[in-house]
Subunit: 104 residues, 2 copies
């Protein structure tokens, strides 16, 4: 999936919030509807957009559809940004620190 679609999908605040919620835990459309005060179709449409660009995965379970975020879908976005990290030594250092902490 191209970076173009990813950027557009994440430009909407509601969709970004949904991705965040789905990164924390798997949820159904109804659950998302409760959390965001928009109609059920609106939720389905946002999910469809996120799914189309590879940011969300579906897991069918009977008449329920459980959705969860697919962080690897951010790959094009990260790829784009990494081109500009080299301009940014300070930030790189911070990130380096984070990486060190993650080393076992």
């Amino acid at each position: 999936m191209q970076e173009e679609q990813i950027f557009r999908a994440l430009a909407d605040p509601t969709r970004r919030a949904m991705f965040e919620a789905l990164a924390r835990s798997e949820r159904t459309v109804s659950e998302l509807r409760r959390r965001f005060s928009i109609s059920q179709p609106a939720v389905s449409q946002h999910i469809a957009t996120l799914r189309r660009v590879g940011l969300v995965r579906e897991r069918r379970q009977g008449r329920f559809s459980r959705y969860r975020a697919e962080p690897t879908g951010l790959s094009p976005l990260i790829g784009w940004i990494d081109r500009y990290r080299t301009f940014w030594p300070e930030r790189l250092e911070r990130l380096q620190g984070v990486l060190k902490d993650l080393e076992p």
Copy 2:
């Protein structure tokens, strides 16, 4: 500047391309106009948007305005993405490699 504005600014492909061009070198509006086949006002409007969200800086020089990218303006975007890097060991490793190359 909030991540909201940054995402919206970069969602447009022309604006993203302009940011990329301005990251490579400083340019005037006229120079950008030549590179992108849109009107001069359209260029000015895109620049204004990028400037408003802190992604581009102006350097006045007589009647010319020279613009260049401000990579630190990507900070909110990077901050947002970093929240999901932890879900992504493979990518982290690759990045770690990149960082190693930059060390000396």
